[in-house]
Symmetry: C2
Amino acid sequence: MKDFSYISHLECPKCGETYEETKVQQLCKCGSPLLVRYDLEKVKANVTKEEISKRTNTLWRYHELLPVHSEENVVTLGEGMTPFEKFPTLGAEYGINNLYIKDEGIIPTGSFKTRGASVGISKAKELGVKQLAMPTNGNAGAAWALYASKANIKATIVMPLDAPQITRKEVFVAGGDLHLINGLISDAGKVVAGLVQNQGVYDASTLKEPYRIEGKKTMGYEIVEQFGWKVPDVILYPTGGGVGIIGIYKAILEMQELGWIEKGKFPRLVAVQAEGCAPIVDAWKKGEKESKFFENSTTCAFGINVPKALGDFLVLEGVYATDGCAIAISEEDLLAAQKQVASLEGNFICPEGAATFAAARILREQGWIKEDEHVVCLNTGLGLKYPETVEIEGVQTLQPGQELFVNN
Amino acid sequence: MKDFSYISHLECPKCGETYEETKVQQLCKCGSPLLVRYDLEKVKANVTKEEISKRTNTLWRYHELLPVHSEENVVTLGEGMTPFEKFPTLGAEYGINNLYIKDEGIIPTGSFKTRGASVGISKAKELGVKQLAMPTNGNAGAAWALYASKANIKATIVMPLDAPQITRKEVFVAGGDLHLINGLISDAGKVVAGLVQNQGVYDASTLKEPYRIEGKKTMGYEIVEQFGWKVPDVILYPTGGGVGIIGIYKAILEMQELGWIEKGKFPRLVAVQAEGCAPIVDAWKKGEKESKFFENSTTCAFGINVPKALGDFLVLEGVYATDGCAIAISEEDLLAAQKQVASLEGNFICPEGAATFAAARILREQGWIKEDEHVVCLNTGLGLKYPETVEIEGVQTLQPGQELFVNN
């Protein structure tokens, strides 16, 4: 009888301490996030990539490499296997012959946060969690609140007043316990830390539970599978908390270990940030292993307004180990890229995702990306969730019966 | 060499007149919409449902049954194969043991209109169309503008001032030619009719070009495929222009003809409308074949605010032929269902889709739906596109440093 999951234990990437995965664990004693380890030999013996390719179109197709033991605990809205499409027109514009989007807007809740929520909530359900709390810049809170409701787990969500308005409505309609804060996500984090300490609530903050990464890593599995079980040359990722980049790097390592892809060949991982909040870029420029708190951060790409990420050292490790880089984009450039993607390729993407296209253009101009390389830009969510990024100008209002003429 | 499409011609369902599909066609001379016909014998000889099940996760997996001859003309953002999920908790609440959602929010542009846009624009591209115009209640205009941009076709979109705000931003960001009108979709329709007549622009209005239905019919193919190549007992569909119900009925007939499903077994098709705009329900109650213009129509489910649909007779035919029914839902009931779906099953659906769940509940209470029947509610779009349907009440705003206590 084959197992649904081959999870074996949790491990600290900083001090090497190990933990059981059969009970609730948060951070390592040393303060580092924990990573999930699997018995990859058993995975290898029990499933092939050809089998996976025939499975359901959700991220749960990789269930042997996800942390949930019993299929009954899977909380799913049909998330994953998002579109992976070539952008020929924009590619020609940028001088990149093989430019792709991995479009994480086309997923329940309209953002990639759903992956972490589906896997994180499923494992929380399996562990018997009844109540959780988390700070959020909006999209993660929305996703976790919706999945928590489905799992009958109470979710307390604390988000900045400035977070996208629609995300608080998602939490509310889900029946989540919503609180707004007149501050940043770091302030929301302090409120949640207090709640966790004083009331024993499960802490679902970024990287403070080990399973969100596992959801996010499926982006790496999917890119490789959709690219024909090969790795592309470059993956650009909008980096706030950086869980996606950590997850994608982890996925590549696992697939190498499984023999599903060539050993030692990595996509160059690019951490894309906004000029108004670029702690990882600053650290990378100095060759440092950790970032510093970025003071007075601001950007319309709210999801990447994270002045200091708990997993910064893991993000930087992924960038260094793959010969990647880090780059900061101006507000003007990312908004221009958003309009360009919509008008040339038809995808209305979020400003965070748009930053990766602006970055691809700049890195191509600088020669860091070569003409024939295969380049994947990761769009983390729907433009629909950021209506304020599009300002309408010069549009006519007609009266009934009025005639219209257009230029042919 | 196998063909990509086995389209043969266009046919009028009213007077039987036939038309060539190799040039631009709009309505029949008799004023009826035209339907696309295929050489189903050739389809049967060249593809099996088992082969289709192994293909790409987009609606283009059914390409033999779609109207585009050359794969090069396909304009795709990776649309289709949307989630089909069981709702156990809500099903228990309603006393329906097998309740499903077909979630059309999880698709590019966040609404099912994308299907019609992808197929309609692809065929327009193949026919050499350079400029089109259409009236819209918002979502269709957004989808067509985005796909038109990708195909390098100029799109003039006329929408009511009251249409969802976000949809005008989608048209604008796509670089579409956006016009607002201080009236209803019927007023917008008159403006477009003038433009078509005076300037020879391609008319992309609902059912005035024959290919949108072909996109929409793929919902029928997908439901049947995802349900294991069987038909469910009941499909509930929010009915405005009604193209989806026409398309699903057409898909079932084609699949019967192909021998992919049992001949003569239909899902009972339910046309769900809002009490504020229920022309099809009124006609169905009287056993009539066509509807009358519904005066002073109003509903927050803007996509089904269509006072008189051009294809009303086809919708009613589908309902009668399958022993279906038509039902009108109050604003209160559909908003309550929207909240219920989000808080019990985690999907934040649009008010149009919510109406189908309210309808399922009522039809179960009336005994029209039986306890063990397999019932599919079609959600046509994301709740995200209708932020005004969720009003937040009683939420606390914290100051940084403030402590929070929650009820365990």
